[in-house]
Homo-oligomer: 468 residues x 4
Amino acid sequence: MSKKEYCGLFAIYNHEEAARMAYFGLYAQQHRGQESAGIVTWDGEKIREHKGMGLVPDVFTERHLGKELKGRIAVGHVRYSTTGASLIRNAQPFLVRFGNIQMAIAHNGNLVNTLELRRELESTGSIFQTTMDSEIFVHLIARHLHNGGVEQAIAKACERVRGAYSLLILVNNKLIAVRDPNGFRPLALGRVQDAHVLASETCAFDLLEAEYIRPLEPGEMLVIENKCVRSVTLGDPAPTRQCIFEHIYFARPDSTVFGEVVYENRKRMGQILAREAPVDADFVMPFPDSGIYAAVGFGQESGLPLEMCMIRNHYVGRTFIQPSQTMRDFSTRIKINPVRNMIKGKRICIVDDSIVRGTTIRSRVKKLRELGAREVHMRVCCPPIRFPCFYGIDFSSKGELIAANNTVDEIARFIGLESLHYISVEGLLSSVQAKDAWCLACFNGEYPVAVPPESGKACLENEIALSW
Amino acid sequence: MSKKEYCGLFAIYNHEEAARMAYFGLYAQQHRGQESAGIVTWDGEKIREHKGMGLVPDVFTERHLGKELKGRIAVGHVRYSTTGASLIRNAQPFLVRFGNIQMAIAHNGNLVNTLELRRELESTGSIFQTTMDSEIFVHLIARHLHNGGVEQAIAKACERVRGAYSLLILVNNKLIAVRDPNGFRPLALGRVQDAHVLASETCAFDLLEAEYIRPLEPGEMLVIENKCVRSVTLGDPAPTRQCIFEHIYFARPDSTVFGEVVYENRKRMGQILAREAPVDADFVMPFPDSGIYAAVGFGQESGLPLEMCMIRNHYVGRTFIQPSQTMRDFSTRIKINPVRNMIKGKRICIVDDSIVRGTTIRSRVKKLRELGAREVHMRVCCPPIRFPCFYGIDFSSKGELIAANNTVDEIARFIGLESLHYISVEGLLSSVQAKDAWCLACFNGEYPVAVPPESGKACLENEIALSW
Amino acid sequence: MSKKEYCGLFAIYNHEEAARMAYFGLYAQQHRGQESAGIVTWDGEKIREHKGMGLVPDVFTERHLGKELKGRIAVGHVRYSTTGASLIRNAQPFLVRFGNIQMAIAHNGNLVNTLELRRELESTGSIFQTTMDSEIFVHLIARHLHNGGVEQAIAKACERVRGAYSLLILVNNKLIAVRDPNGFRPLALGRVQDAHVLASETCAFDLLEAEYIRPLEPGEMLVIENKCVRSVTLGDPAPTRQCIFEHIYFARPDSTVFGEVVYENRKRMGQILAREAPVDADFVMPFPDSGIYAAVGFGQESGLPLEMCMIRNHYVGRTFIQPSQTMRDFSTRIKINPVRNMIKGKRICIVDDSIVRGTTIRSRVKKLRELGAREVHMRVCCPPIRFPCFYGIDFSSKGELIAANNTVDEIARFIGLESLHYISVEGLLSSVQAKDAWCLACFNGEYPVAVPPESGKACLENEIALSW
Amino acid sequence: MSKKEYCGLFAIYNHEEAARMAYFGLYAQQHRGQESAGIVTWDGEKIREHKGMGLVPDVFTERHLGKELKGRIAVGHVRYSTTGASLIRNAQPFLVRFGNIQMAIAHNGNLVNTLELRRELESTGSIFQTTMDSEIFVHLIARHLHNGGVEQAIAKACERVRGAYSLLILVNNKLIAVRDPNGFRPLALGRVQDAHVLASETCAFDLLEAEYIRPLEPGEMLVIENKCVRSVTLGDPAPTRQCIFEHIYFARPDSTVFGEVVYENRKRMGQILAREAPVDADFVMPFPDSGIYAAVGFGQESGLPLEMCMIRNHYVGRTFIQPSQTMRDFSTRIKINPVRNMIKGKRICIVDDSIVRGTTIRSRVKKLRELGAREVHMRVCCPPIRFPCFYGIDFSSKGELIAANNTVDEIARFIGLESLHYISVEGLLSSVQAKDAWCLACFNGEYPVAVPPESGKACLENEIALSW
């Protein structure tokens, strides 16, 4: 079922070198998915595609970009899945043909009624090719296509699915972009020369020297065809529930996401945290790299010097996105090395963006102790994560979330800290701009879209996992 | 549409090392398809698969056979397609899952109403994954599955399709083998230890030291499940129309096909040909390797010495199965070299199995002339091929069949022969055992199953080729 | 030490597409070595090279032939080594540079004083890169180069080495071909357009449509430079001792080797054998493919019908050249399948070229018995092989040669034959043309060039094997 | 000639999992060379090796570490070469065998009399396999080996070569480490459990949890055999001339190099720079990542806030080590993206470690202007680089060093800065500990070991480049 997906989306309409632009658009968003990458183009007669496992530069060669992926429209996708089955079969964009229609779909987010819909479709003869949520859209669209055009069919499909989705759909000469009614996942519109561009994050626009126009609205469907861009509102309105974790951790700091600058928000979290929970220490230090911007804010607000004395090995990837559980400890050790002389005898305040399971941080703090740190304090710029996300962020299951089962004091003891403070939910909300527009389910368990009961869900997943 | 397919099928039910047996069962039938190979197994819970482009030994490694392809049931397939698009996507067995059913299908033969069925299915929401005939079966079965079991659904599907098909279907714990009502393509049943085996040709049984039991009957569906083998007759009876080209050229001489020994039939063609068209020559000579058995028969009947003085480079494949048109001339030259001293001043009688386009033979005869041959005669042990095959043998299009547009004399002149004789249809039929049971459409244009009008067909193929 | 090498040599001087010609020159000689292939060219300024493990078509791509291997002079080599260590490091031609000289050497044959020379060279500072005999030449040449030109240095090197060698040396703009004083291994000169060509066998010339001129003489060094071909006689004359096994088994039947046509010689061996040892049988049958030409001769002389009813799987290589001992049995089974109906109740006479260890033949005869053969006789067109070869043919060690330790009767019993006859040495010699010019050491133990005592040799080989 | 090499060395003696330790020892030093990696081990009887192009994790698999690279002694090497020819042939450690001696050598540094020595050796029969400096050692050692043991031969070889070298030599059961008399390149000794370890940088020790003992002395040869470690002083004493660029840029900040902590030195450079050249700006900002530690020091000393608003794409490597000139501009753009909102209207002070050609910095500054920066100042924590390095650091040729041909004012104008200040040589020297022990040739042109005249050198390089 490939629950829990990160993904990065990119599309461009009406550009000489559409595929090459898509390549760089994905390249800039590589942090959103390192497992597979794909680009499809429309060459005027048919959709061309290339997909592969691995990083963008490993998947595409000059031959793909210069020769094979012809056409002025391109849609690209990078994907990261936490399920064991990392299969090329599940790489996106997902391409199908029915009759004289060719359609490619790229999806970011996670649906909550996949299994129910899949059973219904299969029992009436649909044959699924993959385990992806995204294929649900395709079959729903295929069923609705003969009574009306493709836009109506997409709208109908969106009425059936529930959950989080930002979609890019290439269908013959048309590019269609959709953001779900709650607006869980980002999607932004831009412009470069005569072309329209769409991306999950604006850092993709910067690399292409494209101009950022605006985020898509929740529940908006954008249809681009020839020179024309039409905006359609899908179904019934719903409260906006943007994923605040994009700002805490997931998005690049140089991106604008949901219309807000990530770097500024992240630094402000550090400043508010410094006010909420001051500390008496020799210096402030991030565990690179995600906590660094909050640490800058914390340092400036508190007046404590900032040191960068946890040295990262630049030839290793980031911990949060590690392929297998068994490698996590290895990665922690190999990724960061403290400057010994800077640690010995010091009172250190670590600033980090979040604590999920706490095990990596614990082993790092242990290392600091071994090297002679006198005191180790910690300040965290998101509230305790107590509930799993069903809309596309991978916080393992509830059992693995340390804050779901432990008090802050217990966590401090587990990690081995002199003091530990989390930012408050109010503090966090005052760090961002939009008011009452955020999904906070992982902090407070209030899920904007109802999810199936735990037991049922697990059972369904097993059922499918068994056979695929 | 992947018209014109050769293929080799193999299956084994209830064997410790089912995948390994399938490997060798395909290996022995490699001549039936060198483009791709695949094996699926049923491990008791799910179907496992491995497929790849290339020869059997290139596709499978010890890891696949010893570890991954677990289970006591296996189905294998080798494939050769003459269409430009040789895609891994089109490799077989073809595997689908719907609901809790997993099904793999391997197909040899060619359907004639594919496009019509495909359009019908797509217009009601089916999404095709490939361009193969075989996928038609899958969607038809999926549509019929909810009213009755899998066997009924297969029977229903067979009622809808028209053309040539031998099928092997693995569905959960069950193995189902089908031969179409006309029996165009072969399929034989055998036994080894406690296992049942099925193969296109019995040479596969010999390699596995399996005992040959009998050919499947035309229109027979065999259902193997646990210890039980049930035989079901499909639909309405039809006249048996076995492909005589299996005996002329395609099958291995050590195989029994449609219940008859290929070597004996092929040698007998040569003997009858020697009686029908005697020749005054210094010696008889095959163009290795396919004509060799007819040449042995011709030599024995005529009393002329047999010489083997066209030397084959053992590191090249056989001409008839060449991947691309552009390489044919190269292959002809590199494949065979005459022993010069044996040719000079001699009157030579070439015996060969067939003439399709005549261009390869022409260039070889030209070479013999250059080396000083005094006379070159030719005897061919199949009648002139004047009509294309729509049931699975690749004689290019009608325009390329030399006998479609030329008299025997014209062909002799084209090739540059002192004399040329083809075996008569009667002579051919007296070389084989079964009476009135053969498809002779390529010789006489009488198609046992009606085919769509030429123009329509070409147009349909283009339509799909365009978009894939 | 890479004892026991087969190899195929090819060179061309002054051709527009020298590398492409070399490719096909090697392709035609692929039977002489399937382990590795290499081509070097001189582009006017430097030697370019490409080598790889595997068959010629696997090693070279259009890029190599069309772009990288520039120049009008090319030298190629195919190699087969029976030692376990099949290393790319040991592929030829072997290329070195010293000062402003670049030299590539391709070698067919085996030296007998390699180890002695190697020790001497290493003790004075030479550093060897490989375990090949051929590198001895290179270091000897390097040592002699500063007092005289490259030709003198090669002549000096040839004075030091003892054993079998045909050499092709490319040094800057010059191509030098050498055949050792006894002429153990073949090397032929030809011409195509304005180019000179050299090859181990003339089948390479046929493919290139080159004209065969003559074999090199034993002890002849040919120097080709610009338009000029000079012939130099090396050192003291020695009796000519050509390897008769090239005619019995190794060379292609369409080749002229040592100036004699292989097909004719091989057929004549069968004829003489039929006279020396007639048989009362239903038919004569080769074990394809090597015995086929002798079987044709035997059939014609004896009047028995020739049947080709042992069917070869064309997708497997030849038994004699199998990479590893453990695979031999597997290969035997998979390679040949008898036509069952032809065997049952028959009296069969097998004609084969040679018996080395007898185990493969034994298992095949056993199979014939199982299929109901009434009598199995065998006629072999070379005398019993009783002694190992030290000049480049791989008959395992003496312990493995069945005729070294058993009488003909014992061998017949071992294999399970009604009768067994070998051709006599006199019969063999009357099958070929040249008189008193053959190495018969494997039959009679008379080694034309003295070899080190058995024990010493083994010990030396171990010593090196240990460290490489 | 592979001039200008970076390299990382690692060795371990007497460890159960020597190869695995070497893998991580190289992994931690990956920044010293990304082109190729290699490990050799001594298994008690012979040296085993594996080398490949690419990063450490790409070159080695579990099979290499767990099975093939057996033994308790291992030597590893990572390499980066700036010459066009990045060949596997040139990967290290370099392995040779002569007689019963097997030797592997790993080399960091650059010799200045390579060509002279090579000519001398080749004219007396030595055959070189590579274009590496390191092979000179091997041939010199081979020549000296017969009069004395391997240590004497190494000592003799070191007497002949001139230039920079840290060496690790594995010869049978012995591990020998050498640092050249001037001590240009680092080499440190450590200990883990019962094993001795050697590495270019101590970050390798940290990862392995090994204890750092001391740097090797300039001119010291360490011989490790069984439980015994002997220290030998080579030849005549020379003034210590350590490469100060290791501290400015090249080494990892968490390493101790030449006995000094890189992080502290680098931060101190920033502090001294803040005192030497204060600035009136809104904030200090590094161009990540190399300038970050100096920026921390500058910020603390000056009291200006530090911002990290140039965001690095973590999926790209560092600019200084780019494979080809043509990609540099692309890399600059793709590597770093400014946070737009932080730049607009600001007075920015950039702190960086060095300016080589200035083109990358220029394009970044231009970008800041385009985004609306009000003022851009720059502070550089090494003096102007005016002279090329012949001992192993790649500052292109003199023509490409911007400071060789331009005043500081001219550079400021070229880059487009409001102000530019370099640290003074005195300031730099007061940032580090050792007194009068540094090579400053790149700043002042005083070369500790004489180099061949410019013209001669270029010509020699061309001569060799031509033929390889």
